[in-house]
């Protein structure tokens, strides 16, 4: 009798053990939990058409998806488009859509939704000029979307895959909504739950999401997106010190931006992982060509060669920087170094002589910077000191961001306007410095040579042709100093050690990320 029971017990134990072993991988897969992410700035809106803000995109690109977007190397990648063809004359683009893609409200995505989205974009999106060459949108059937252009635009696909203000696919009913007034319903792996202004946003896993089988894992904005958590809690924490403290105490899992000084200290901790997000933005300033003394090219040259870019970048970024002359990032398909002989010349004596030669009579040099971005605030102070040392009479005006933006349009108000060009250069050369090309003209005086080079670049038939034009464009910017580049700003991000699968990118990607115990 005992032996019988003993055998049953042993068998049962063995069965249990086998069962446990079999179940273990499955249990390990089913992780869940809530990722707590800390973001610096609140998003002005969640409508991706209505803002170019990073803070909007951080959230929106986890909720929405586009037909085409960019991969880890900034090349084109298909997302909601299964495939596409371009007609030989370059006037017709035909997209085949992926099937079985659901919106967060359960509806299946069809070409009608794509058409409504593109039409809304053309009507009210900030960069709606992208779709200006479009003649018509057509939907021959529920899975095909056609764009007919009025004239050939070789860079059209690059433009509609750009993520400055992405062409997110919305349900057709949102088509007539005004800017900022859409319902937040997308096709992305995360679903919008709530937004308590100035406190946090919550997203949750969209159970109806079908990861894209064409890809193996995370790839830029697209790829195979699997959600390994239940929710994402995006906290809005303005103070960098509070973000760091939250990370250290474990209240925050992922922090978007860590001050470099703190990063050095956190590097020694085993429970925190640091990431370098290189190529975050080009740190620099717009130069006003209409106001004295920067209306004088010699004065601009003097200013350009007087500056010690290393000091400026080191202080404003606390050591997280790279010095390079390009208006694109190394590794980008369009990276060129034309004009580098005028970058970081750092010759104050020569600058002083040049300034005299230019006939500088002590006109006040006005710098506008802002208190919202510490790096710009600090850089301005260093630049001012260096310029004073070679004989400029400098005044710094610090405003909050809203005022600074308003003042930028004031032709008589400034000579240098501090900025960070982030998304623009990362999207490509056409967005990198389009602000100095007509009609935007941040420098207030049109440069016909530059305008012509820009048009030439856009019209180039091949990548190589466009790259060559961009080289000339960049050289011209250095020659005439429409934009003063200081360096490449890097960003430090950090996560708790139990956050797995996170790779920093231009937005925080919450897919394929899990929380271990």
């Amino acid at each position: 009798m005992n032996r019988g029971i003993g055998r049953i017990a042993t068998t049962a134990a063995a069965a249990l053990a086998l069962f446990a072993l079999a179940a273990a991988p499955a249990a390990a897969q089913k992780r869940g939990g809530t990722i707590v992410f800390a973001q610096e700035a609140p998003p002005p809106t969640l409508d991706p058409y209505f803002s170019t803000s990073v803070s909007t995109r951080n959230v929106a690109m986890n909720i929405f998806e586009t037909l085409l977007t960019r991969d880890e190397n900034n090349d084109l990648i298909k997302e909601l488009a299964e495939d596409y063809t371009v007609s030989p004359d370059g006037l017709t683009y035909t997209f085949t859509l992926r099937r079985g893609v659901k919106f967060h409200n359960g509806k299946e995505m069809t070409s009608a939704d794509v058409k409504a989205s593109f039409e809304r974009y053309r009507r009210m999106a900030l960069p709606k000029v992208t779709l200006a060459p479009v003649d018509a949108f057509e939907t021959p059937d529920a899975n095909t979307f056609v764009i007919r252009l009025k004239q050939k635009v070789p860079v059209f696909l690059e433009e509609i895959s750009a993520f400055v203000s992405p062409i997110a696919i919305l349900p057709a009913e949102q088509g007539d909504r005004e800017g900022g007034k859409i319902d937040i319903i997308g096709t992305g792996p995360f679903q919008f739950v709530e937004w308590i202004a100035d406190s946090h946003l919550k997203l949750k896993k969209f159970d109806g999401y079908k990861p894209d089988g064409r890809y193996k894992g995370t790839d830029g904005f697209a790829g195979r997106k699997e959600v390994l958590v239940d929710m994402v809690d995006i906290r809005l924490v303005k103070e960098p010190g509070t973000r760091v403290a939250g990370l250290e105490s474990g209240q925050l899992h992922i922090v978007e931006d860590i001050p470099t000084e703190s990063a050095k200290r956190l590097a020694t901790r085993k429970d925190i992982v640091l990431y370098d997000l290189k190529n975050w933005w080009l740190h620099g300033a717009w130069v006003n060509h209409a106001r004295a003394p920067t209306d004088n090219p010699k004065v601009r040259r003097a200013m350009q060669i007087a500056l010690d870019m290393e000091a400026i970048m080191d202080i404003s970024s606390d050591g997280a920087y790279a010095l390079q002359a390009g208006l694109q990032y190394p590794g980008n398909p369009y990276y060129v170094t034309d004009g580098k002989e005028l970058y970081n010349v750092n010759d104050p004596k020569k600058a002083q002589a040049l300034l005299k030669e230019a006939g500088y009579k002590g006109e006040e040099f006005v710098i506008i910077t802002n208190s919202s971005y510490q790096s710009m605030y600090k850089a301005a102070q260093v630049v001012a000191e260096q310029m004073k040392a070679v004989g400029f009479k400098v005044r710094i005006d610090v405003f909050d961001w809203a005022t600074a933006m308003a003042r930028r349009r004031n032709k008589d108000g400034w000579n240098l306007w501090f900025t960070g060009q982030g998304t623009g250069p990362s999207v490509g050369p056409f967005t990198a410095l389009k602000d100095v090309v007509s009609p935007q003209l941040n420098q207030f005086v049109a440069d016909p040579v530059l305008d012509k080079l820009f048009d030439e670049m856009i019209a180039g038939e091949t990548v190589d042709a466009r790259k060559a034009s961009f080289g000339k464009f960049q050289a011209r910017v250095y020659d005439q100093v429409h934009f003063l580049k200081f360096g490449d700003f890097q960003r430090k991000q950090a996560t708790r050690a139990n956050v797995k699968g996170y790779t920093p990118y231009r937005i925080p990607r919450f897919w394929n990320v899990s929380l271990e115990d």
């Binding site: 010190g241 202080i315 260093v382």
Partner: protein
């Protein structure tokens, strides 16, 4: 407790006013503390070891040393030099606020208290201004006018004038009913003479005490404005600016934010203690008043 109790003019008999002040422990302590800060401000040029804006690029984040008594900040600027020059600006702004508030508050309070018909409209506007949370009003005005020392003064003066006007007004209301004022009026004395000769001198005691406290509030408030980015712009050092710049390096270089904060505290403390002493001496009955 009505205003009547509060503002009986007191003429201390016997010992001189100065004598009593100097013997009052609080007054002396406060004066010493505040005096130290004042000396720093006045002699900033002599006390500094380097120009406050000068960036020593290779000496960033250094701790205290012979060359840099309190160390350097993230720009390589000497903290001590910035601290003493910051005193100049922070105290200067505080003083300017006191002067403007004193003049404006007294004028409005006098007019409202003395001329019945002006009382209602003036006090309505003062009430409206006081209904704004002080800091918000200051931020809004400073943001509107632009970041500069002068605009910070204006913003803070607008915030504190109503409170001062109120105090002056309540004193004036009482003094106006006094026998000798009524008598003067009956004799046909002109308003201006009555105000200057009787009303104003008897309203001074509570006013001076209040202004001392306003000086303290102003220094504190200026640091908040600078901290929020709407105070005097860089590279001018103010204590508030320095705390704002230091807040990003709290763990790594706590001295950057610590010293200017201490400086603000010592100044405000000195002024508050001074004000207490002043109040005790000038009119002990005022001790029961609100701050």
């Amino acid at each position: 407790m009505t205003a009547a109790d509060a503002a009986q003019p007191v003429r201390p008999a016997g010992r001189s006013l100065w004598g009593r002040l100097l013997r009052h422990r609080l007054f002396v302590t406060g004066a010493v503390l505040f005096g130290l800060m004042l000396l720093m401000a006045v002699f900033a040029d002599v006390l500094q070891v380097a120009a406050p804006e000068r960036m020593h690029y290779r000496f960033r984040f250094k701790g205290p040393s012979w060359q840099f008594p309190l160390g350097t900040d993230n720009f390589g600027r000497d903290l001590w030099s910035r601290l003493v020059h910051g005193a100049r600006l922070s105290l200067g702004i505080g003083f300017a606020v006191v002067v403007v508030t004193g003049i404006a508050g007294t004028a409005i309070g006098l007019l409202a208290g003395y001329f019945r018909r002006l009382d209602e409209p003036l006090m309505r506007v003062m009430d409206a201004l006081m209904a704004f949370p002080a800091i918000l009003l200051a931020i809004a005005i400073a943001a509107a006018l632009g970041p500069s020392a002068i605009n910070a003064v204006i913003a803070l003066a607008v915030v504190y004038t109503p409170r001062t006007a109120r105090i002056v007004r309540s004193t004036v209301l009482v003094v106006r009913e006094m026998e000798y004022v009524q008598a003067a009026l009956a004799f046909g004395a002109r308003h201006r003479w009555i105000i200057l000769r009787h009303v104003l001198p008897n309203s001074l005691a509570p006013l001076i005490v209040q202004l001392t406290f306003i000086f303290a509030y102003a220094v504190l408030a200026e640091s908040i404005l600078s901290f929020l980015g709407v105070g005097p712009p860089p590279p001018t050092p103010t204590w508030g600016n320095m705390i704002a710049e230091g807040k990003d390096y709290l763990r790594e270089a706590p001295l950057l934010a610590l010293f200017p904060g201490l400086a603000v505290m010592i100044t405000a403390l000195g002024l508050n203690v001074l004000g207490d002493g002043l109040r005790d001496v000038l009119d002990p009955r005022l001790r029961v008043q609100h701050d």
